[in-house]
Every structure is written in structure tokens, then in C-alpha cells.
């Protein structure tokens, strides 16, 4: 790190740029842009703005593949969050972000600041953040370090999310050895706004003032998140610790209220949050997007620590800060709003038409570079990619079953698997009810939120996957989209849009780039088949420790609109004795490749997962949505991890009633092939249900009844039974008992 008094002296030693994560070619590129050697502050700005995390230099060429257009899309990828028009004058903003490496360094603060960051992306758009979802992955809980990381991350999400006043209404937790030294922490945030309140990251014309709002700037995360998230992990990473950032949900809560008041009173032209790359990004991005430049005076920045130099001020990743672009006539009013909400504010710059980011510090010019070169000047890498030589072996490595396994035992084993069991230990630490919108909260499939003042509801699901994508990234990526869309449809909603978070390994390996490209291809194909645009997301690369890459792990969030809000909506816990159990979708599916069954009972991962089928997928969505809207099925639940057996068990446990399932081939019970769901149906509604299924042209049949206090699997009279009480206690305690 270059911390020197001679801030205006050019950098001679090229080694400095290596410390900052820039390659020699990138350094030469900077020289060419400036026509001279960069000064320390200039090099610092380029290093953070051109980091993988901020510039997407390895992934951008592939992200172009995503479909992004639809009539209801107001803002697509490229802004802080995507925005969708849900009618009645309401817009929603949605975005997902990762904070993987910081959460490994310090799980509580890493997760907490991740939550703070994604929330800022939402209210930067003008929306009030109304809900969060967390998608988190860890190594096996047998290792103390992994238990520590899980506890810390969940406490961090709770500690920040609850205090900042945004409920966490759903999420998922996964486990695999690959995440032991590289946990994944992805958080999705939803915002709601009136149409008039939309704000973009624009700077406005010459003379516009730049006002820095919120926390004082300190030495937090110098070369932190952006660098941390842009390089691999190893023993040396412990030295990155001093750059850990501490979140202050109280400051962010005040910042939210202050900004919302600024939007309501129409006092700002544009805003940009300060995330990774801090001031460097917030000063350059909005002006670049507006074809302008800016004069920035670092002496005016309010600081938490004294004696910070220009490099530190420009690179600091101090949390809870916002940059507002304000017409000179409104400056006083903006400062008054800040004072009311008891947050600090300072006018730190003025928009200019010279197109440069001109930075002064201590009366000296420490940087003068074209704004556009910081934002879009980074190289775009077409990194070499190639199918891993191990794919063929993986696909041919299937289990040959000689006999039928003990079904009840296999189910009990799955119920005791932390990845499949109840997550109440985690979501009861999250406020998931604030704002009185949570109609269906955590512990079900999609979350369902009502939109007060309308008859509508928003259904959202977030699902990630590593195992299927390892076995086939294209099919795995596509199936995530179909699964999310189905869950949303089963809440009575029409799937409208997707956000994605791509967690991958080291992009300098052709195999990893191939996985990335294939996953994006799969997600894109599925989105096209279902008419859903991708409106935003995030890419996290270099998820690699000591040379071992994580599974390719995309996380997909699906947003759906339920109009009207079904009342009462289907839930897992509404099955009653006497109701019929129905299965929708191809019943004869038998592929067990990548299934939880093979993993849990045989510790096996191999074979090739079934590809999704657009026609069957669309039929399932249509049927699910109609059933939910008509209210003829009190319970609707998709068949995914754990297959039919686990899906049925989850309904029985949630409803506190036993069930009998009739089957012919035991593999039907554990197969996880897509586009299938189950329902609880009262006998007098059976005819109507069959009619709706026919209308959607999806195979559907009753395969059992609810009743008694056992979960029974029956093949022409041969019964395998599991006591409901045993199933319930096993499933409820599988996670918590491993954490004490």
C-alpha cells in the first residue's frame, strides 16, 4: 500500500500496481489513457474500479447473453437494482449481492455489512426496502470452524437486518465440503416505491453539487471487499484482516429515512451508494453515466479518523454512506433533512463538463482522470474456456441398484440432514414480520407479501445450487429458474423477473469459465422459455481456496405478481385427515443423478441430471397458478431436493397429520426431476382439480390420502411406515442439535 506524503508525485515503481491487484497490461493501459505515469491516488482509483468485483472484466462478455427485456421492466441490469412495474402506480426494486470472502474473514461483520450493502442498492433507487432473503452455504457442521461460521453469519444477518428494520422473510442454507474454506453469503433485497419516486445514479448538469451523506470516512476496508473479492484465498488472507469493516445498522436506518424524505420532497437529481470502491465509484459512476466530470475536494469529506491521505479517502469502504447530486438551490434543504435525521452531511464536489474526475486534497490536485475511463475503461477479458475432462467420467459414474433400499430408513436419514431439515433455528433469529406484509414467511416454498392499498401480492423465491451445476452447469442453471418460477406460481403468482448471483471459482481456469458460460446459457434458455427477463444480479469469482474451486453455484431469485392475492393462499400446514394427496407432473421420472437420496444414503455424486422440458415446465406453472388462485388446493408444494418422499413428509410434519403414499417403483419416491408438485385436495374438489390439470395439460393423479399418525409408503400392500412424531422431532432438531 502506498501511504506517502508526496501524494502528487507520480508512481515510479510498477510493483505498486501489483500490490493493488493490477496486471502489467492494465498498468500500461492506464499509462496510455493518461499519457503519463499515474499518481498514487489515480492508481488507487483505477485499481478498485477495474477490480473484478467492480468491473466484471471476466464475466461481462457472457452476461450479455441474458434476456433483459419485457414490457414490465422499468430498469434492467446496469443500475444498482432492477425495477419492475406492478401496476396501480407501484414499482418494485430487486437485487441480490454476495459477501463471501468478507464473511469468511469475520462471519458476523461480513454478513452484516453484506446486508447493509444490498439494502443501500435498493433505497438508492428511490424504493423503501421491505424484505430480505438470505442464501448461505457452508462446509459440513462436523467441523467446529464451519459451525462458528454458520452461527456468526446468521447472527450477523439478524443483528443488522433486524436493527435496520428490514424483515428477512425467507432464504436457504446449504452444505458441502467445497464451502468449508469459502462459505457463500448471498442476500437479496426487495424494495417498494411509488412510480414518481424512481431515482437513478445520475449527476445532473454542470454546477450540480455532490453531497456526501452518512457515516464518517475511516480506514475501513482499505483494499478490502473489492480486492478481497477479486483474488483467491490462502493462508496469506489472514493479513487482509485489518481491512474488516464494521456495520452500523442504526446509521443505515437513519440514512434510509433521510433519503426517502429527500425523494418524497424531490430534493435530489440522483444518488449513488458507496459500496466497494467507496468514493472512487460514487464520484465517477454517476458523472460518467451523465457524460460529465466532477471537481472533488477531499478536504471537505467528514472523517472518522484524522490524518487520512488521498489514497485512503478514495479507497475507504466505510459503510453507511451515500452520495447525493443536488441542484445548488436545494443544498440547504438537503442539509436540513440530514440534520433532522441526525446524520452528517458535507458538500464535497461540483459537477463539471470537463469530463474528468478532478480530485483535490490539501490544496493540491492529487488526481485528474477521465471519468469514463474509470467506469468503462477496464479491459474486457475473453478468458479461455474448455469443458472439464472430468465431465464424461462424472456422467458415467452412476449407482447400480441391486435391491430396493429400506424406504422409511432412507427418509429418516434425509429428515436428519441439516440441508434438508427445518431451518427454524436460523429464521427465528430474523425478524420476518415487520411491516405487516408477510402472508407466507420462512419455512414454506416462496414467500408471499401483500402490497397494502392494493389487492395484489408479491411472491418471491431464492434458490441456489452447487451439486447439479457441478454435474451439468447448463441443466442445473436452467432447473434453478424453473424451480423458482414453479414455487412462485404455487403461491398463485405469475413469474415476472429474475435476479441471479453467480458464485464461481477462479476465472483464470478454463474449466471454471466453461462452468460460468454454461450456467449463464442454462439460465438464459430457461428465462426465454418462461418469458422472464434478468433484471439484475452479481458475480462472485475467485471462490477458491488453496487451489480448490467451489462447486459452480448460481443463486436465482424469482419475482412473481399475484393478482389478486389468493386468500387463503396455499400453505404447507393446511392438510387435514381425509384429504387426498395428488401428484402433478410426469410420475414416471426415475433419474436419481445428483439427488439428495444418492448423496445422503450412498454419499454418491454422479450421473447426469435430467434436462428441463419447457413445455412441461410451462404446464406446471399454469396449473399451479390456477389451483392456487381458485383456492381448490389448501396445500401446494413443489417436488425438489429429497424428491416426492421428502415433499410429502414436509407437508405431513407441517400439518401434523399422517399420510399414505402409493407407489409402483421406489425410485419415483426419491427422484428430483423438475416440473412436479404435490397438493392436498378435499375429495369434493377432486373433480375440479382434475379439470384444471387437464386444462393446463399436465398429468395429475391422486396417489394417496392424509390421515393417521404415520408416513406410509405402500406398494400393492407392502408398507413402509415412519412414525410422524419421530419424523417431526428428527426434522425439527437436525440443524439446532448440531450447533449446541
Amino acid at each position: 500500500m502506498i501511504i506517502e506524503d508526496e501524494e502528487t508525485a507520480p508512481v515510479e515503481t510498477s510493483s505498486v500496481h501489483h500490490q493493488l491487484g493490477l496486471t502489467d497490461d492494465e498498468f500500461d493501459r492506464i499509462r496510455a489513457i493518461l499519457g503519463r505515469d499515474p499518481r498514487p491516488a489515480e492508481l488507487a482509483m483505477y485499481s478498485v474500479m477495474w477490480s473484478e468485483h467492480c468491473s466484471y472484466k471476466s464475466s461481462r462478455v457472457h452476461l450479455k447473453r441474458f434476456p433483459t427485456a419485457a414490457p414490465w421492466v422499468v430498469v434492467g441490469p446496469g443500475e444498482n437494482a432492477g425495477v419492475i412495474d406492478i401496476g396501480d402506480g407501484w414499482y418494485v426494486a430487486l437485487r441480490i449481492e454476495s459477501h463471501n470472502h468478507p464473511s469468511f474473514v469475520e462471519p458476523y461483520q461480513g454478513a452484516a455489512t453484506g446486508v447493509g450493502g444490498i439494502i443501500r442498492d435498493i433505497f438508492t433507487m428511490g424504493a423503501r426496502p421491505i424484505a430480505l432473503w438470505d442464501s448461505i452455504r457452508f462446509g459440513p457442521l462436523g467441523q467446529a470452524r464451519n459451525r462458528y461460521l454458520l452461527k456468526g453469519v446468521v447472527a450477523g444477518i439478524a443483528g443488522y437486518g433486524n436493527a435496520v428494520g428490514v424483515p428477512t422473510v425467507g432464504g436457504e442454507i446449504g452444505f458441502a465440503e467445497h464451502y468449508s474454506n469459502n462459505p457463500l453469503v448471498n442476500v437479496m433485497c426487495l424494495g417498494l416505491m411509488r412510480r414518481e419516486q424512481l431515482v437513478l445514479a445520475r449527476s445532473g448538469p454542470e454546477g450540480t453539487r455532490a453531497i456526501l451523506l452518512g457515516a464518517g470516512t475511516g480506514r475501513d476496508g482499505i483494499g478490502g471487499a473489492s480486492i478481497l473479492a477479486s483474488t483467491s484465498f490462502d493462508a496469506a488472507s489472514s493479513q487482509k484482516r485489518p481491512s474488516v469493516q464494521v456495520g452500523d445498522p442504526f446509521e443505515e436506518k437513519k440514512l434510509i429515512e433521510a433519503c426517502l424524505e429527500l425523494y418524497e420532497r424531490d430534493l435530489v437529481i440522483g444518488v449513488q451508494d458507496l459500496g466497494a470502491a467507496g468514493l472512487s465509484c460514487a464520484a465517477s459512476e454517476p458523472v460518467a453515466k451523465s457524460g460529465m466530470g466532477i471537481d472533488l475536494d477531499l478536504d471537505l469529506v467528514h472523517v472518522r479518523e484524522s490524518g487520512m491521505n488521498a489514497v485512503e479517502l478514495l479507497m475507504s469502504e466505510s459503510q453507511e454512506r451515500m452520495m447525493a447530486f443536488v441542484d445548488p438551490s436545494r443544498v440547504e434543504a438537503v442539509l436540513a433533512v440530514a440534520a433532522k435525521w441526525e446524520i452528517d452531511a458535507a458538500v464535497v464536489g461540483t459537477v463539471r463538463d470537463h469530463g474528468n474526475v478532478l480530485v483535490n486534497h490539501g490544496g493540491e490536485t492529487v488526481a485528474e482522470v477521465p471519468a469514463v475511463s474509470l467506469v468503462t475503461g477496464a479491459p474486457n477479458y475473453e478468458r479461455p474456456l474448455g469443458e472439464p475432462q472430468w465431465m464424461e467420467d462424472l456422467w458415467s459414474n452412476t449407482v447400480k441398484f441391486v435391491a430396493q433400499p429400506a424406504i422409511a430408513t432412507a427418509l429418516l436419514q434425509m429428515l436428519d440432514d441439516p440441508a434438508l431439515a427445518s431451518k427454524a433455528w436460523a429464521f427465528e433469529q430474523y425478524d420476518h414480520m415487520l411491516f405487516l406484509n408477510t402472508v407466507i414467511g420462512p419455512g414454506h416454498d416462496a414467500s408471499l407479501l401483500r402490497v397494502k392499498g392494493t389487492d395484489k401480492g408479491l411472491a418471491l423465491s431464492v434458490d441456489g445450487d452447487g451439486r447439479l451445476c457441478y454435474l451439468d452447469p447448463r441443466r442445473g442453471g436452467a432447473r434453478l429458474v424453473y424451480e423458482g418460477a414453479l414455487q412462485v406460481a404455487l403461491a398463485g403468482a405469475r413469474p415476472l423477473a429474475v435476479v441471479d448471483n453467480l458464485n464461481f471459482g477462479n476465472p483464470e481456469k478454463p474449466e471454471v469459465m466453461w462452468q460460468l458460460r454454461e450456467t449463464i446459457e442454462g439460465i438464459s434458455e430457461a428465462c426465454e422459455a418462461l418469458g422472464m427477463p434478468v433484471i439484475g444480479g452479481n458475480v462472485s469469482l475467485y471462490n477458491e481456496t488453496n487451489g480448490i474451486d467451489i462447486y459452480p453455484t448460481p443463486v436465482v431469485g424469482v419475482l412473481g405478481l399475484a393478482a389478486p392475492l389468493p386468500s387463503p393462499p396455499p400453505r404447507l400446514d393446511r392438510a387435514l385427515a381425509g384429504m387426498e394427496l395428488w401428484l402433478f407432473g410426469t410420475e414416471w421420472a426415475i433419474n436419481l443423478a445428483g439427488s439428495s437420496f444418492e448423496l445422503v444414503t450412498f454419499a454418491h455424486i454422479g450421473g447426469r441430471p435430467t434436462a428441463p422440458d419447457p413445455t412441461a415446465g410451462r404446464a406446471a406453472l399454469q396449473a399451479g397458478q390456477m389451483l392456487a388462485q381458485e383456492g381448490v388446493a389448501p396445500v401446494l408444494h413443489d417436488v425438489s431436493s429429497g424428491g416426492l418422499a421428502l415433499a410429502v413428509a414436509e407437508v405431513a410434519i407441517a400439518s401434523g397429520v399422517g399420510v399414505t403414499v402409493r407407489y409402483s417403483d421406489w425410485r419415483h419416491l426419491f427422484c428430483e426431476d423438475p416440473h412436479r408438485f404435490i397438493a392436498a385436495v378435499s375429495p369434493d374438489a377432486a373433480i375440479r382439480v382434475a379439470g384444471l390439470a387437464a386444462q393446463a395439460s399436465i398429468p395429475a393423479a391422486p396417489i394417496g390420502e392424509f390421515g393417521g399418525n404415520e408416513i406410509v409408503f405402500d406398494r400393492n400392500g407392502i408398507r413402509a411406515a415412519l412414525d410422524l412424531g419421530v419424523a417431526t422431532s428428527t426434522w425439527s432438531q437436525a440443524l439446532s442439535r448440531r450447533l449446541v
Partner: protein, 80 residues
């Protein structure tokens, strides 16, 4: 023996609580306060013979559980 563990937040790490409390004290008219820092003290009762042995064990507890090495430094004082 009694072990007293003083856990102090590293100076370079942000301390929102301190900032908020100084603000509150100023509101109350205690304008003479310029800085507030919050540290923790954990007092343990430990069975053990030699001060050395106990010190080593307690330092171990701090590293494994009681202190957060990323954010805090700690000091162990034993009074036999």
C-alpha cells in the same frame, strides 16, 4: 483462581456505539466528553494450580471463544 480478561476493541476498528453515546452525552450537556470507548471484562473462576498453566489455558479460551481476534485484543490477569 480468578482470571480477569480485558478485551479491548482494536483502535482502527469503527466503534458506532462509542460515537452514539458521545452524541447522547453532548445532548445531555456533557459537552466535555470527546471520546467514548466500550471494552469488555470477563471474570472467570478457574480451578487450577499454577498461574502459568491457568494463564495459558485462559489465553486459549480467548483465542477459541471469548475474544474476536479480528476485531479485538485481549489481556489476561490472574489473581491466585
Amino acid at each position: 483462581m480468578k482470571a480477569r480478561i480485558e478485551i479491548v476493541r482494536r483502535p482502527e476498528i469503527a466503534d458506532p456505539e462509542g460515537v452514539t453515546v458521545v452524541r447522547a452525552l453532548h445532548d445531555l450537556g456533557f459537552s466535555e466528553v470527546t471520546r467514548a470507548r466500550f471494552d469488555r471484562v470477563i471474570s472467570l473462576e478457574v480451578e487450577g494450580m499454577s498461574t502459568e498453566a491457568v494463564t495459558a489455558r485462559v489465553e486459549d479460551m480467548c483465542r477459541q471463544l471469548l475474544a474476536n481476534p479480528v476485531l479485538e485484543d485481549f489481556r489476561v490477569v490472574i489473581d491466585p
